[in-house]
Amino acid sequence: MIKQIAVFLENREGRVSECCKVLKDANVNLRSMSIADTKEFGILRLITSDNDVAMKALKGAGFLASIVELVALEVPDKSGALAEMLIELYEGGINIEYMYSFAGENGHAQIGFKTNTPETAVAILEKAGAKVL
């Protein structure tokens, strides 16, 4: 399991850059980001080098931010690797709310996803031989 920071952003010009500037000023490095957007607001999801510092900086700047745990795994850099794992999860009845990828250190892709049943998901992935982070 890994931790991400989710930030609520109302749809207003410059809101994403304001958020990134706060993290820059706090010397926090971003490993990955993904945004879910609607017409009126967005939710920015971040994986950072230091969640505690990032949270403190964001809250201090008035952002609605929270820490949410994701199930994360490393998949080898070859075609079909992710599909195999997703099929295992699907067959195990795991519902994925959202997912995104981020860079691993050794050329492998890392995938994080949100589910309401993380323990079951981790058990399924481990049984299937995945490298769970």
Binding site: F41, G62, L64, S66, K114
Partner: protein, 434 residues
């Protein structure tokens, strides 16, 4: 048909004053004997019913405010027991509690007479088909004009609000010549009629209408009259006193003829509450001269307006109410529905996902009022899914709609983004132009 009740409507000023004086003496005695809140108010001021000898003594009497009605909720202000009442109407009040008005059969009949006088001012007669597109319910618009039309002896079409296509079908098929609704709705109807390519005068045979329950400008009136080829009359009423028909303007538009044989108007200074003269702007105060169910003495309407006593070419002799220009409280009228910011606040306070910092944006888009409530999310909640935010928004929107009886768009923003101000917060931006 020129008048509904010629004798009263064209009564000389002297006779009217004598009638008002006689009725005021009676109603004050009646209120003192039958309404505990008035007995208490008058005793506290040291005023006895015998001190009131003519209409000129009215300024000796205590005022009534909306809070008095709330304190008496639901029946404390009634002068008659339930067995004598035949109808209740209600409208929203600041704390979410309704203000209630009870009517006896005689009260309903008098209200109907006043509504009938108004319909005649718009050009109606016994031969008319009167299409009522005001909502029917606790709101007084629909039933008020309905009974007015029946008193007149016209054919009433109780269409109620909504379903525009059906409304237009009914207007064509039943050949209504008179319509009653809000000014914004008649403009919407006119647009739809034009869009459908219907011909004014052939498919749509309207000749006049009474429009009220929300503020509208002379520009809007000219637009309505031109597009539909009708006489558009401004009608005034409020549920605490009686619904539409308390005052209405005639074809000469010299101000709304106040039905001052039943409802006595005064204008007072908003700060000092001292009575003001004709053509001076202040708060409209109304005394019901003939009501039995729930008489109100010097009721402060919170509407800002002036009265004029200039003669009208129509021959009616009543005093006239000039257009309402504003409110002396923070009440908003959204699509004809009274909305108080405090009602919005009480809905927000019950929701743990948000904090009660809000801003209300009111606008008029395509001639319909829109209300947006911008509200801050609580800093303590955890949000990482779009669906969570949507859930919070939908719950708030539905709670708001049921508390306010009118829908509002909810916009959620980050904590700390709604402007804070010291002292009295400026929570409303009203971009409507009247």
């Amino acid at each position: 048909m020129q008048y509904f009740q010629k004798e009263i409507e064209t009564m000389s000023k002297e006779d009217k004053k004598a009638l008002q004086s006689k009725r005021l003496v009676e109603i004050v005695k009646y209120a003192y004997e039958n309404q505990a809140p008035y007995r208490a108010k008058m005793d506290a001021m040291g005023v006895k019913p015998e001190d009131i000898k003519s209409i000129d003594d009215i300024s000796k009497l205590p005022f009534t405010v909306k809070q008095d009605l709330r304190d008496a909720y639901p029946f404390g202000m009634m002068a008659r027991p339930k067995k004598d009442l035949v109808r209740l109407h209600a409208s929203s009040a600041t704390t979410g509690k309704l203000t209630v008005a009870g009517y006896t059969q005689k009260d309903i009949d008098i209200w109907g007479e006043c509504a009938a006088r108004s319909l005649v001012m718009a050009g109606a007669s016994k031969e008319s088909v009167v299409h009522v597109a005001y909502g029917y319910g606790l709101f007084t618009g629909g039933l008020g004009m309905h009974y007015g039309g029946e008193q007149l002896g016209a054919v009433v079409v109780p269409a109620s609000a909504g379903n525009t296509q059906k409304q237009i079908q009914l207007l064509c098929d039943f050949e209504a010549d008179i319509i009653c609704c809000t000014p914004s709705y008649i403009i919407y109807l006119a647009e739809e009629i034009e869009r459908m390519g219907l011909e004014i005068g052939k498919d749509i045979k309207l000749k006049g209408g009474v429009f009220g329950a929300e503020a509208w400008s002379e520009g809007m009136r000219a637009d309505i009259e031109k597009r539909l080829g009708i006489r558009a009359c401004d009608i005034y009423g409020l549920s605490e006193i009686a619904g539409p028909g308390v005052a209405c303007d005639c074809e000469f538009k010299t101000g709304m003829h106040f039905q001052d044989d039943h409802f006595y108007p005064e204008i007072v200074d908003v700060d000092t509450l001292e009575p003001l003269g004709y053509d001076q702007s202040g708060e409209l105060v109304i005394t019901t001269l003939t009501k039995e169910g729930m008489p109100l003495i010097r009721y402060r309407t919170r509407d800002i307006a002036s009265l004029n006593n200039d003669p009208c070419p129509c021959g009616r002799t009543s005093v006239k109410l000039n257009k309402i220009t504003g409110r002396s409280d923070d009440m908003l009228i959204i699509r004809g529905v009274n909305v108080f910011p405090s009602q919005i606040e009480s809905v927000l306070l019950k929701n743990k996902n948000i904090q009660p910092h809000y801003h209300i944006n009111v606008d008029r888009v395509n001639n319909l009022d829109t209300m947006e409530i911008v509200v801050e999310l609580s800093p303590d909640i955890s949000l990482d899914e779009v669906a969570h935010v949507e859930e919070i928004r939908k719950k708030l929107a539905s709670d708001m709609a049921s508390a306010l009886s009118v829908s509002a768009k909810i916009t959620l923003v980050s904590p700390g983004t709604v402007a804070r101000s010291e002292g009295k917060a400026k929570r409303i931006t009203d971009r409507r132009k009247f």
